[in-house]
Symmetry: C2
Subunit: 397 residues, 2 copies
């Protein structure tokens, strides 16, 4: 594989020596399928959008699969032409960065059900010639991972060095181990859970209800009539509250007024209101409401508790499990439950709860704590060493 980053890449970071990947591009891989889905339905043909960074070595032993969260996409790092904002995990992926593209071949795959180049409800249904809409089959996290397995097969990679991701990306990482343990040398699930609690389901349900309450949703059949923008904007506003913490909101907004005084009307008086409105309005430009419905449902259905994470007796996959102190959407006790399940099966697992006031957003923005841990974990995995303390027991439990 040819690396996608520009040879004329920008100047290195003076502090770390790391460099940007420069210009990257999203590609598509299509296979006929049909995928046999958990619901019993099938889906095909299937397209997956993906990006790759770095070079696959001759032994195909340096491939890392990076997995994105609910509204993410395949563009994890580097820049698309003409854009000033890099991919969503750019600080983590690149030459000299934790996912070091001088050593590793990094793949980021979009999920089925999404709207960022992969087959989803806004794709054309080959049977009708019109967008699937609500006729799109229900998909699960296991279905997403099954589709990604086709992409990894396409690369001819027998065994991934690592699967890594935060939030729903962490669910996919866990599902990779559950579905294909022999094909994963290590996994880094971050700020995630074995299953959604009723509170997490509740937030997703209100998000869905908000979309479906918009008359423009029309039971999902809105691609020719106009999208349910208001419902989706409110849905995303709910999401943003859960991504932050009480403290990070206090630090970022306090009770500061947008226009210096109370308006005594239903406009945005406080900066936090303006922020949420802006985030909601922006989101509808870049995301499809039906995708939000299908993907949140896939997250709610996800359940690898009760021994479903590690089914076999012996498993060789190593784990680095990370959570963040102020994350109340995916609280640390959920990550600790992952580690407990692993320990019960004598799996080599390191756990760390990182300090942060950023809430769930921490996995995207609280980089310093993650950087060293991930870097060393990958190095030791790649060089065949076990976890630092020899017996595979995690710390910080």
């Amino acid at each position: 594989m040819k690396a996608l980053w520009k040879t004329e890449s920008p100047e290195p970071d003076p502090a770390t020596g790391s460099r940007s990947l420069g210009i990257v591009e999203t590609r598509e891989y299509t296979f006929a399928g049909p995928l046999k889905l958990e619901s019993g339905e099938s889906l095909g043909p299937v397209t997956l959008a993906y990006e790759t960074y770095g070079t696959l070595n001759a032994g195909k032993s340096n491939a890392i699969l990076v997995l994105h969260a609910l509204s993410g996409d395949a563009h994890a790092a580097g820049f698309h032409p003409g854009e000033e904002i890099p991919g969503w995990w750019d600080a983590m992926i690149g030459p000299g960065k934790p996912f070091d593209t001088d050593r590793y071949f990094v793949i980021c795959s979009n999920v089925i059900g999404g709207c960022k180049g992969s087959t989803g409800p806004s794709s054309v249904n080959p049977r009708t010639g019109r967008p699937y809409g609500a006729d799109f089959p229900f998909i699960t996290i296991a279905d997403m991972v099954q589709a990604q397995r086709h992409l990894i097969d396409f690369f001819g990679i027998d065994r991934l060095l690592c699967v890594a991701g935060g939030s729903m990306g962490g669910m996919q990482a866990l599902q990779w181990v559950a579905s294909y343990p022999e094909r994963v040398r290590s996994a880094i699930p971050i700020a995630t859970a074995l299953k959604h609690s009723p509170q997490q389901i509740a937030f997703n349900e209100v998000i869905r209800q908000s979309i479906m309450a918009d008359p423009a949703w029309r039971d999902g059949d809105y691609y020719a009539t106009g999208r349910p923008e208001k419902g989706l904007a409110v849905a995303r506003m709910i999401g943003h509250i859960t991504f932050m913490s009480e403290k990070s909101m206090e630090e970022k907004f306090s009770r500061r007024l947008k226009n210096g005084r109370l308006g005594f009307d239903f406009g945005a008086d406080f900066e936090v209101e303006g922020y949420l409105r802006y985030r909601g309005a922006n989101f509808v430009k870049r995301f499809d409401a039906n995708s939000y419905l299908f993907i949140t449902k896939a997250m709610d259905y996800f359940d690898l508790s009760g021994g479903r994470l590690i089914r076999g007796k012996e498993i060789d996959t190593r784990f680095l499990v990370l959570s963040f102190q102020s994350d109340w959407l995916y609280p640390s006790h959920q990550s600790q439950e992952i580690v407990r399940q692993l320990k019960r099966k004598r799996v080599d697992a390191t756990y760390c709860e990182l300090k942060s006031t950023w809430g769930h957003d921490a996995f995207l923005v609280e980089l310093e704590g993650q950087t060293t841990l991930i870097q060393h974990f990958l190095e030791r995995t790649y060089s065949g060493k076990r976890n630092g303390n020899g017996n595979g027991n995690g710390n910080h439990m």
Copy 2:
């Protein structure tokens, strides 16, 4: 005043000896006003719905004003004819109960801006002959309290023995002390705050956006065309998530399925989804969307921080401040901030954080812990004794 409860009241509770108030009725008090509002606008005539329980003594020294939360009403205790569910604080108010109607005269007043018999956006605007709708003037917690002061004047009560309430009821209790300190002998603010944090504002803002996103809202002018039921239902669902705790949801719902299996559709798969849908659908039958908008805005505007709670030098009002451990909507640190403000002004204040897994709902359902504290606090206030430890210092800080 004549007591409103039936003389032939039901059998006493065998454990506590307390009795139900039996049948009660909501009354209305109308005054011309106009009320001069904080916004600069004015409102008149003004009607307040209220209920009273017990008998006002000759010296008018035994009156307690009970204040309700966001969606509450004047019906705090006893039964309305033909109804099987008593008022919202029935366990706390009645003969032999903490707010003991054998000793005290309890008044519960509805708020202006509401839709439960008091002047609000669904009332007829005397200038147009049509419902106010969004033309209703913006009201604040101080405006609500100013209206209640007219009701207390009507009863000829110079000084209330106590003002008490939870959540927005607690805000009104605090505002009573801020606005009319000489007319309040004691206050019991429960599960409340001196001001909303940006997270609390954010939840209210998303609630408002959900209502206003419903095309049926029509800028508040919907009384002749049909109410924004879908938007209001989603708004209330958001509220219910914040009223519970992660733990109380886990205990109540876990991941139990509604129909024994996953539906692979957008129906309610999990019991928690069914609960939220039920709560949302029920709420639209009993509450007005415009009232929800105006009242949440009043809560967000409320701010008695920075010395605004106690303006004078000497204040004789005693406080019992209560919060609940699992309440993340009005977390204990907000109640502790109230107590800090009181201590700074050398006000006699007792604070207690009560154990509970119920989240914010605790103030309505976690009765055992509140009962004794409130009972003793009222007894000592009524008999003129100070707080138990002599120096007025709270405990449990």
